[in-house]
Structure formats: structure tokens, C-alpha cells
Amino acid sequence: MQELLGIPSPLLFGQLLIGLINGAFYALLSLGLAVIFGVLNVINFAHGALYMMGAFVAWLLLTYLGIGYWPALVVAPLIVGAVGILIERTMLSRLYDLDHLYGLLFTFGLALIIEGTFINFYGVSGQPYAPPQVLTGGYNLGFMFLPAYRGWVIVASLLVCFGTWLLIERTRLGSYLRAAVERPDLVRAFGINVPLMMTLTYGFGVALAGFAGVLAAPLYTVSPIMGQNLIIVVFAIVVIGGLGSILGSIVTGLGIGLIEGLTRTFYPEASSTVVFVIMAIVLIIRPHGLFGRPRE
């Protein structure tokens, strides 16, 4: 068997692939958090619960309406986005004038309510969700075996991340968003409806989480608590990348996934803590994150 640095190469690449998959989810979720934080100044603790909701909506659509994976990939994020818009309009928007802490506490409570509701109806054991027919099987790349669905998750996540980056950094709408991050009052005084933009931004940010949830459904079991473990790591990634940095959250998400994969290969004991060690180091050396700008 081939070896690389004393590790059988299929094992190494297998772990790197898992790392890349995790990184793809980290990137999608931290991107949504970064966009929401940038525009609304809210740390969205409900992000994990809405990711779970995306997976559950896909499962419910299939189980009760016979709607399959591909339509669900579009419909479920739209539904989660609509739920987000409802949350922002009816509740979250009332907290903007208060301290940040209230938004954080509100979304944290909301996460408990959403997860509690799903646990009440479906328990914590989880529901299976089969990948679509065309993405079963896989490819032998010579140095490793790539399951087709995993390859698709990486491609889809990168496309959506890159598309979001383009939207924010290269379009007129994106320039409104970036300006509103700096001076929402002045942007309103130019005739741009910033409150509406904040509502749509929250809807879009949580729709990204819903999209990640649908992508995750065939990989992991669909369970009400699937967002809980993930979201803690994602918050660490947002801290490492720098709050509010779009590119930073994408690059950091993928990077941390790969580092976790490498750690799992070379020193498995540290694989679940390595992200927090990196976070601590970054906080000491660059408190505003690798890609963040210091906020005044």
C-alpha cells in the first residue's frame, strides 16, 4: 500500500475528503452568520436550528408529499428563508435599538424552541434520507474512492459560496449592503429602504443554513439536534475568520475543515479540540480575526 508521511495514502485522502466536506458545511453556515452579523449586527444563535429545519423540511417534503431531493434543494431553503423573514419582521426587528446581547439571547431562546418542538414530534433518534439516484455510487480517482454525493456537496457548497461572494462584492445590490454595514442611517438618507434590506438579509442568511441542511440530509441522519454540535464549531470559525468578513468566513470554513481532517489522521485525540486551540491563538494574536477589520 502507498504511504505518505507514514500514513497509508487512502486513509490520509479519505480524512482530507471528510475534512473538506465538513469545511463545505462550515463555510456555508459561517457565511450566513457573517452576512447576518454584518448587516443586522445580530449574532444569530438560531443558525444551527434553522440548518436542522432545512434538513427536516426536505425529509417532510419527501415523506408526506413525495417531493424529492432536487426540488427540495430549492424549496426547503425558500421555506426556511420565509420562516426567517417572519422571525425578523415580527420579533428580531424590535431588538435593534437595544444592546447586542438581547439579539443573541433572543436567537438562542429561539433555537431552543425550534429544536424542542422538533424533538417533541420526532424524537432525537433521527430519520434516514437517501441521496438522489444519480449521486449514488462514486468514482475511483486512483489514489482514493470519491463517493459521488460527497463530491456534489463540495461542488454545490463552493458554487453557492462563490455566488454569494459575487453578489455582495461585485453587484449594485451588494454595494448597498456593504454601505449599510458601515452607515445604515446615511444609506437610508439616500432613499434606500434599509429596514427591508435587513429583513431580506436575514431571510437570505438563514436560507443558506437551510440549503446546508438539505445538503447534509443524505450524509447524516436528519435529527432535531443535528445543528447543535455543528454550530459551536461554526461560531469558533466565525471568530477565527473575523466577524462580518465574507471571504474570510468561506476560506476559514474550508481551511478549518481540512485542518480537522489532518489532525484526525496524525493526532486523532486532538481532532475535536483543534479548532478551539486555533481560535484561542487567533484571539491572542489578531483579536479581530484573520480577515476582520477592527470595529470602532
Binding site: A179, R188, A189, F190
Partner: protein
């Protein structure tokens, strides 16, 4: 002009920031095509008056009529859409936007705004800097020009300029003065807040002096020479 309806008419405007009562019943008018200045010492309430007109001070009461329509309770985005544009004292050039994005940011709200060629004729420096990667890299004078230039595109009829000369070199102040003069000729109505009395005296048709959140005196352009002593005393020059 005396029987024509003023473009902007303010009556008994009061405004608060939290607990502090800043404006105590401001009254004044701006007629179509005029340049009017608000003078006064630091903290008199000049900037708050502009921000209140723009809807950026949530706690405000009194009447603000623009083209005969009451806008005193409207949100900032609706006020802007009626044709009022605001250039803040701190200029508000966005660091995360390129120079061109900054220039193109405010949406066109009405017909009759300046085209880019006219804007670059007015501010030639901006054309050179157009491809700049960030608005924050411009000099203070260029930022001021950008902040004025971007609101000329929108078709707004009334421009609120808050201390456009603050902290700028005399040559730049002169250039901005010439631009304001050109804008008046082009039919813009301008409400100007200034600390630099000499700058305002050269440009404005009428002046209001604000003290402790009230209009305490008014001067027409012709009065200034005779009443200079009185004015200097009010402004503490």
C-alpha cells in the same frame, strides 16, 4: 418671490437626542433656487436641524413642509425619494466601496440629475480617482467632492450640505465654493450649514443664525456689510 410657496418651510421644529432637547422651535424657509446658510456656534443645533429634515432624528415634532407636503413624520428613505439629498459633515464616504461604487450608490430618485460627464467637469479630480479601490484612500478634499458629487446624480432638488469646507485647505475650499456657485446657476436649491462664515457669506442669499436650538437672527446678503458687528458678536468670531 414673496407670494410663491417656499420649497422648504419649517415651523416650530423641536428635536431630542434621548433626554437632551436640542431644537427648541426652529422656524425658517428656503425658496426655490436659493442658497441659504445656517450659521451659529458649535452645538447650536445646525447639524441636528439638517438631520431632522432628513428624518434621521427619530424624536422630532413640528412642521417640515417640502413643496407643500408635510414630511416631518416620514422615514428617511421616503424623504430622500421626494427629492432631498444630504451630504453629512463627516462626509460618509464608504471605505468598503470603490470610488465608483461610492459615486453610484445613491439611487436616482427624480429626473434632472447631473450626468457623470457634468459631475467630472465640476470635480475633475474625481475622474482621475474614479478607479480607486476604496473611498477611504482619497484625500479629505477628494472625499468631500465625492460626497457632494454622488448626491448630484440623484435628481434631488434640495441639497443639504453640512460644513463642506471643514478641515480643508484654502485652495480646496475655493474649488468647492466655485462648485456650489455652479450648482446654484444650474437651479439647485441649497441649504448650507457652515462654521466658515466667510465661505457662507460669499455664497448664500440669506443667512439664519441659530443659537440654543432657535433661530435668533436673519440676514439678507445685502445686510451683511452694515450688520457685520452684530453678526460677529452672535457667532463669537
Amino acid at each position: 418671490m414673496s407670494n410663491a410657496q417656499p420649497l422648504l418651510r419649517i415651523r416650530d421644529l423641536n428635536a431630542w437626542y434621548g433626554e437632551s432637547h436640542i431644537l427648541h422651535g426652529i422656524d425658517f424657509e428656503v425658496n426655490r433656487g436659493e442658497v441659504v446658510s445656517l450659521l451659529g456656534r458649535n452645538g447650536a443645533g445646525k447639524t441636528t436641524t439638517l438631520r431632522a429634515i432628513m428624518g434621521l432624528v427619530p424624536q422630532r415634532v413640528g412642521s417640515i413642509a417640502f413643496e407643500g407636503t408635510e414630511i416631518g413624520a416620514m422615514k428617511p428613505e421616503r424623504i430622500a425619494r421626494r427629492g432631498i439629498a444630504y451630504c453629512p459633515e463627516e462626509r460618509g464616504v464608504f471605505a468598503s466601496l470603490t470610488v465608483e461604487e461610492n459615486l453610484m450608490l445613491p439611487p436616482v430618485v427624480q429626473d434632472g440629475g447631473l450626468g457623470l460627464d457634468e459631475i467630472f467637469e465640476l470635480f475633475p479630480n474625481l475622474e482621475e480617482r474614479r478607479k480607486g479601490a476604496s473611498g477611504a484612500r482619497l484625500s479629505g478634499g477628494e472625499q468631500q467632492m465625492l460626497a457632494i458629487a454622488r448626491i448630484l446624480r440623484t435628481g434631488a432638488k434640495l441639497l443639504l450640505l453640512d460644513e463642506p469646507t471643514e478641515g480643508l485647505a484654502p485652495v480646496i475650499v475655493h474649488q468647492i465654493g466655485a462648485s456650489v456657485e455652479r450648482l446654484r446657476e444650474r437651479g439647485f436649491t441649497i441649504l448650507l450649514v457652515e462654521q466658515n462664515f466667510h465661505f457662507a457669506a460669499r455664497l448664500a442669499d440669506r443667512h439664519y443664525v441659530i443659537e440654543h436650538g432657535r433661530v435668533v437672527e436673519r440676514f439678507a446678503r445685502g445686510d451683511i456689510r452694515e450688520r457685520m458687528g452684530e453678526l460677529y458678536e452672535l457667532l463669537g468670531v
